[in-house]
Amino acid sequence: MSGLVLLGAERGFLSPTGVEITFLLVGLVTLGGAVLAVTSRQLVHAALWLVVALGGIAVLYLLLTAEFIAWVQVLIYVGSVVVLLLFGLMLTKAPIGPSPDADSGNRWVALAVALATAATLVTVVVDAFRTAWIELDVPQGTTEIVGRSLFRHWVLPFEALSLLLLAALVGAIVLSRRKKERR
């Protein structure tokens, strides 16, 4: 085991670089926002804590040199998905104050399942990628790089995705349209 650690760890975990420290701090903020988003008893606050989590993930993308993904994340997730969720809360007449029945009765089972999943995943991931090192010297996700690969190698999925978005748009309109005649 010590040999494995030494193999890829001329850079140890005990002497983190500046990027790693920033990643750790922003990651803690992200995780805290996520935990508050799933445990908050005020429904609107849960949606607003989601903004913190998603914005933190956008900063993490920036730290991983994936600029384009970071700005897409800000535009689509923080900009529109959260607004849609807030509209959903508002249109289903969510209570403004704290609602004590926000969690169902099986929350302890859910907590056990989530803790088991976290323990398993973290154990496996740490065991597998303990010695892997990301070089961040060359930016890997500028708009030019992503656009070039998207329109050179991924054109067909890109077009299929636009069809999917059109179908989703039509479906949402059809679903939310009020029927004239009584069913």
Partner: protein, 134 residues
């Protein structure tokens, strides 16, 4: 940067989202938790793409596709939630029990009658059926 940092953070975010999906009652809060799980996967994709220096940049392209699919999903999902709320007057998951298996010996086991006996608050909220203006 060690690859373990983004990988572990993504695993933890996924677990938090899983807890939210299992523990929440309101459908919109379940959708919020689903978004958290999708974001955990996206973080993994970007981290591994940057680590592997993929020539095709499959990870980042797939992340873009995932973001677009998630946007479509949240639109359709909220439309369904609004439809259910308009028809039932409730957006709590554990009150939507129409497909629940009832006792075969139960007499009034058809539709709303069973709901009335088991869950008076839910049927009271669903009384103005179809008339709740969203």
């Amino acid at each position: 940067m060690h690859l373990a940092y983004p990988a572990v953070l993504a695993a933890l975010l996924f677990s938090v989202g899983l807890y939210g999906v299992l523990a929440r009652r309101n459908v919109v809060l379940v959708l919020i938790s689903v978004e958290l799980m999708l974001n955990a996967v996206n973080l993994n994709l970007v981290a591994f793409d940057v680590w592997l220096r993929d020539e095709l940049h499959a990870g980042q392209s797939l992340t873009l596709f995932t973001i677009a699919v998630a946007a479509a999903e949240i639109g359709i999902g909220l439309a369904i939630v609004l439809l259910v709320y308009r028809n039932r007057g409730s957006s709590n998951l554990d009150e939507l029990r129409d497909l629940v298996e009832r006792d075969p010996g139960d007499d009034n086991s058809d539709g709303d009658a069973g709901d009335n006996t088991s869950r008076p608050t839910a049927s009271a909220a669903a009384a103005p059926k179809g008339e709740v203006t969203a």
